[in-house]
Structure formats: structure tokens, C-alpha cells
């Protein structure tokens, strides 16, 4: 699979990235070569193989639904780039 600069820009948008103009060309070339290599998966005979999403032991993990102490807003928000009272501040979301 070969991808174009336009593809890179579109997938970057989906990933909420803004790839530097000077890198778009290089990325298209590098990601194309990675995807061309990955395309060999099409030759693998996976008929009958189950999906394997992870390597953990396959058992359900439950816990009691108990209220536990929380660290509180000051600790929780200590790394916030911008804070207003007990809230994270972000730029305008609507309109």
C-alpha cells in the first residue's frame, strides 16, 4: 500500500496531529515502505485462527464496589496546564 502526502495529512488530522510541512513528504515515503512490508500479512493463512487481543490470563477481574478515598482536587490537578478553581481550563470548544 502506497500512501500519498494527502493521505498523511488526512490521517494526521484523524490523529489530531499537524505534521510539519517539511516532514509530510518523508512520512509518506517512510509509512508507505512500512505499509508495503506489513502487506505481507495478506499472504498469511489465518483461516480458523482466533483473534488474540492480549496476553493476559483470560479471566474476569472483579472488585467490590466500595467508596475509597480520592487524592482530592489539588493533587489531581497538580499537573494541569491551566486550572480554574477545581476545573481544567481548555480553549473554546463550541462555536
Amino acid at each position: 500500500m502506497k500512501i500519498t502526502q494527502k493521505d498523511v495529512e488526512y490521517i494526521a488530522h484523524l490523529s489530531r496531529l499537524e505534521v510539519d510541512e517539511t516532514l509530510v513528504d518523508k512520512f509518506a515515503e517512510q509509512i508507505s515502505s512500512i505499509l508495503q512490508y506489513i502487506d505481507k500479512l495478506k499472504d498469511a493463512d489465518v483461516s480458523g485462527a482466533a483473534l488474540m487481543a492480549g496476553a493476559a490470563l483470560e479471566n474476569n477481574v472483579f472488585r467490590q464496589d466500595e467508596v475509597k478515598a480520592s487524592p482530592g482536587p489539588d493533587v489531581t490537578l497538580s499537573n494541569a496546564p491551566e486550572r480554574h478553581e477545581d476545573f481544567y481550563m481548555v480553549p473554546r470548544v463550541v462555536g
Binding site: L17, V19, F27, I34, V46, L51, L57, S78, P81, P91
Partner: protein, 492 residues
């Protein structure tokens, strides 16, 4: 013997006998760091004050007779900077987390502290563990202490270089596709990637959650067993943590001393040996390692891992897919860097991520997003997870006829700095021997087995069945003792 040369086992004895104090030991490491790390670049953060205070506390506890209860009391360790440390910067070698100070310790960090360890600092890595050379760090590259023109391997290159240069007694790394074993091999130290679920990932910043595992990087096999005893165990804070008993891993060494390795069988995957690009020194070292194990009574058999040809391709779909989801959290809202020039939120996300993440991280996010996007999901992620199941089944079948599987760790000794930087695919292909164990969730160890003709270390990889680290340690220890490499550490 100089204090920085001691293993955990030796340092512990010396501390208990009051031959030296923890403050002496920690200061010896801090002096080494001052003298050598400007050149090597193994550390991102050195917690000088924290380490000295903890060492003083350790000395008090030693004089109170607590040493026998606490396996790491007063021992200076380093941690890969992907593990959260309360009150100490945790950067993941990324500009996006340059000033991030966690509010809590990772479970493994709490366990080390509870065992009395002194954390001297946080080590360099490829940004968010994405890489095999530590050249992708957002801050600086780390050099191989054996030859500073070469990479230390990666992504736990800082931890491996710090142990090899004896700037800490031992360290922790993390391994998603070989990131403990490959740098351990390249730096001539021991590294273990435990079975998936053996060690809690709580507080480990996620790269590819279904593959990531924390493990020790140490001067010898005994020290790895000692560290595993401390860091393994069930943790309710990680739902993938296995709720099974943790054995005493040092018993494996006792077992070797009483039983040797007679009766054990080691499989050699025929597909590994037909791979192109194996360095002649690595091949010779591997053949010699086989002989050493045979002399110890290990029977060698041929096994088959038919999916080997697809392993790298499947891995480089699964790991970037998981990464594209995991790294979405670095959006400039709750922690880390935020670009302040944007006037709406989408623009803020984009500018924050693009300025905060380096090129390799962006490349993997884009590849992962592509593989997971509508229309491509089944062809890429879906197929890759099926190949993954087949890889696991291949190993299960192979392990029906053997106790261990052995292979080189990497196709070549450490390559030169800059050699593969512009060619990510070539870099990815160097992970061929290590990443299948992550796919299958198996444990693996890298033990030094030779020095190449140009003076660089080479490691032997031993893999075992799920949760059978005991066999790994037993065989690794036996191999290490029997080989008796003369040149164990770089002469610095």
C-alpha cells in the same frame, strides 16, 4: 573491590557486615555519574538529594537490624523514565512530559522502596519506548559504554548503559518488543522480560498495553532473580496482572547448584537460523553458546515457529495501533505540555501533540490510526491479531517438546549511532528474535555470551513457557557460570 563494581548480592553482604554504608555506596554511584554520564548520557534525571536522604535512612535501618528483612535495603537503583515516581519528574524522554511530576509511584516503584532500595535517577529511552537505539529520545542520545560511537540499544538503553558503566547497582527497564533484552545484549548485561502479567504495569506509562512488561537489567543473573522477587506479584490496580503465586526466583540458582541442567531440552527454531543478515560474530557466539549448554547436559532439538516470517509485520500493526490509542491522552488538557497559541480546542490538540511528540512517535501514531481506520481495520489489525494467536500457538506446540527455546537476541552487535535513523523499517527488522515472546506473552532473558571482533558485547536469548521464569534463571545462571566471560564490563 570498588563499591560501584558490586552486584546487589555483594553490596547487600557488605552493608550487612558494615564494611561500608549505603551513603558510601550511593555516593560512589553519584561520583561515577558526575564523572562519566556527561559523555554517556544514560540519565535524564539524577535525584541526588533524594538518593542521599534515602541512603541515610537506610543506614539507620541497617543499624536497627532491618537488613535481613529488606532485600534491597540501601541498594542504589536506576529506573527507566517511563515509570512514575512520586515527586520526581517522569518524562518518557518526551518534550510533551518534560515537566511532568507524578502524584503517585508506579506499583513496582513502591515495591522497590518498600524493599529498601535507593532510587538514584531516571534513565533515558527512546521516546515513549518507541525505538531500538535510544536515539529517539526527545532530550539526548545515550552512547554505548563499550564504544561511544555505537548505540546502547533500546528502548531501555539508558538503564542498560547505566548498569554496564556501573553508575547504579542495577536498574529496571520495560520491554514491548525486546526493549530490555536487546539493550542488555548490546551493553553486556543481563535483562529479563518476565511473563506478561507477572509484574504490575500500574504507573508504567503505556505504549502498547498488551505487550508492555517491566523487568530487571542487572550485572548478573543472580541479581535479576533478586529483583524479580521484589517486583513480581498480583496488583489489583492492574487488571492484567496475574493473580498467581510468585515463587522465590533465587531458588532456581539453588536448583542449578544441586541438579545442574541435565534432562533439560532446548529448542532451536529452524526459521530463525535461515534468516538473512545474521552477523558472523553473532552466529559464532550462538553456536558456542549451544555447545556450552550441551556440555551442561542440555539436549538440543530443532523446533518450528512457522509464523516467524509474519511476526515483525504483525507486531508493527499491533504496537502502533495500541500506541495510537494510548497516546491520545497527551492532549494538553490534564498534564504535560500545552501549546498556547491555539484559539480552539481541536487546534490546541493538534499543535500540542505536534510540538510535543518527536518524529518516530508521530509516525507510529499515524501508522496505528491508519491500521485501525474504517476499511483497513480487518486487513491490518484484525489479521495481525489472528497472526498473533498463531504465533502463540506455534510456541505452545514447540514447548510440548522442550523446556527452553534459544536464539540470538539481535542479528548484529550494537550498530553505529546514526546508521539506521532515517530508515525505520530496517530498525524494526532488528527486533525479529525478541518480539515474538511479547506477542505470545512469554518470558525471555538476555545473558552475555561473547564479545565481537570489534569489542562489542553479544547476548544469548533464552525463552521459556509462560510463568516458568525459574527455568530461565536456572539455565541463564548455569550458562553464565559455565561460560565465565573474562571481559564482563567496559573498562571505564
Amino acid at each position: 573491590m570498588d563499591l560501584h563494581e558490586l552486584t546487589i548480592e555483594q553490596a547487600k553482604k557488605g552493608l550487612e557486615k558494615k564494611e561500608f554504608s549505603s551513603v558510601d555506596l550511593v555516593n560512589a554511584m553519584l561520583d561515577r555519574i558526575d564523572r562519566l554520564d556527561g559523555d554517556i548520557g544514560a540519565f535524564i534525571t539524577v535525584d541526588r538529594d533524594g538518593a542521599q536522604n534515602r541512603a541515610k535512612e537506610a543506614d539507620i535501618r541497617i543499624s536497627n537490624g532491618e537488613a535481613s528483612k529488606l532485600p534491597l535495603l540501601g541498594i542504589p537503583l536506576a529506573l527507566k523514565d517511563l515509570l512514575c515516581t512520586k515527586g520526581v519528574k517522569t518524562t518518557c524522554a518526551s518534550k510533551i512530559l518534560e515537566n511532568f511530576v507524578p502524584q503517585y509511584d508506579a506499583t513496582v516503584v513502591s515495591m522497590l522502596k518498600d524493599a529498601g532500595a535507593v532510587i538514584v535517577g531516571k534513565t533515558n529511552l527512546d521516546e515513549f519506548a518507541m525505538g531500538s537505539s535510544t536515539e529517539n529520545s526527545g532530550f539526548h542520545i545515550t552512547k554505548n559504554p563499550w564504544n561511544k560511537e555505537h548505540v546502547p540499544g533500546g528502548s531501555s538503553g539508558g538503564s542498560a548503559a547505566a548498569v554496564a558503566a556501573r553508575m547504579c547497582t542495577a536498574a529496571l527497564g520495560t520491554d514491548t518488543g525486546g526493549s530490555i533484552r536487546q539493550p542488555a545484549s548490546h551493553c553486556g548485561v543481563v535483562g529479563i522480560k518476565p511473563t506478561y502479567g507477572r509484574v504490575s504495569r500500574y504507573g508504567l506509562v503505556s505504549y502498547a498495553s498488551s505487550l508492555d512488561q517491566i523487568g530487571p537489567i542487572t550485572k548478573d543473573v543472580t541479581d535479576s532473580a533478586i529483583l524479580l522477587n521484589v517486583i513480581c506479584g498480583h496488583d489489583p490496580l492492574d487488571s492484567t496482572s496475574a493473580n498467581i503465586e510468585t515463587p522465590d526466583f533465587t531458588q532456581a540458582i539453588t536448583k542449578f547448584k544441586t541438579d545442574g541442567l541435565k534432562g533439560m531440552k532446548a529448542g532451536i527454531p529452524k526459521e530463525f537460523l535461515s534468516l538473512k543478515g545474521l552477523d558472523p560474530d553473532v552466529e559464532a557466539a550462538f553456536n558456542n553458546s549451544k555447545k556450552i549448554l550441551q556440555n551442561l547436559g542440555v539436549e538440543m532439538i530443532e523446533v518450528s515457529l512457522p509464523q516467524t516470517d509474519y511476526a515483525v509485520a504483525a507486531y508493527y500493526v499491533i504496537a502502533p495501533s495500541e500506541a495510537s490509542s494510548n497516546l491520545a491522552r497527551f492532549d494538553g488538557v490534564r498534564y504535560g505540555f500545552r501549546d498556547r497559541s491555539a484559539d480552539n480546542i481541536i487546534d490546541m490538540y493538534k499543535k500540542t501533540k505536534s510540538k510535543g511528540f518527536g518524529a518516530e512517535v508521530q509516525r507510529r501514531i499515524i501508522t496505528g490510526t491508519y491500521a485501525l481506520s474504517a476499511g483497513y481495520y480487518d486487513a491490518y489489525y484484525g489479521r495481525a491479531t489472528r497472526v498473533r494467536a498463531m504465533i502463540r500457538d506455534d510456541f505452545d506446540r514447540a514447548f510440548e517438546s522442550c523446556d527452553l527455546i534459544i536464539s540470538p537476541v539481535a542479528p548484529t552487535p550494537a550498530f553505529k549511532i546514526g546508521e539506521n535513523v532515517d530508515d525505520p523499517l530496517t530498525m524494526y527488522l532488528t527486533d525479529i528474535f525478541t518480539l515474538s515472546t511479547n506477542m505470545a506473552g512469554l518470558p525471555g532473558i538476555s545473558v552475555p555470551c561473547s564479545i565481537s571482533s570489534n569489542g562489542l558485547p553479544i547476548g544469548l536469548q533464552i525463552m521459556a513457557k509462560r510463568f516458568d521464569e525459574i527455568s530461565l534463571i536456572k539455565a541463564g545462571y548455569g550458562f553464565e557460570q559455565s561460560l565465565g566471560l573474562k571481559e564482563r564490563f567496559p573498562n571505564i
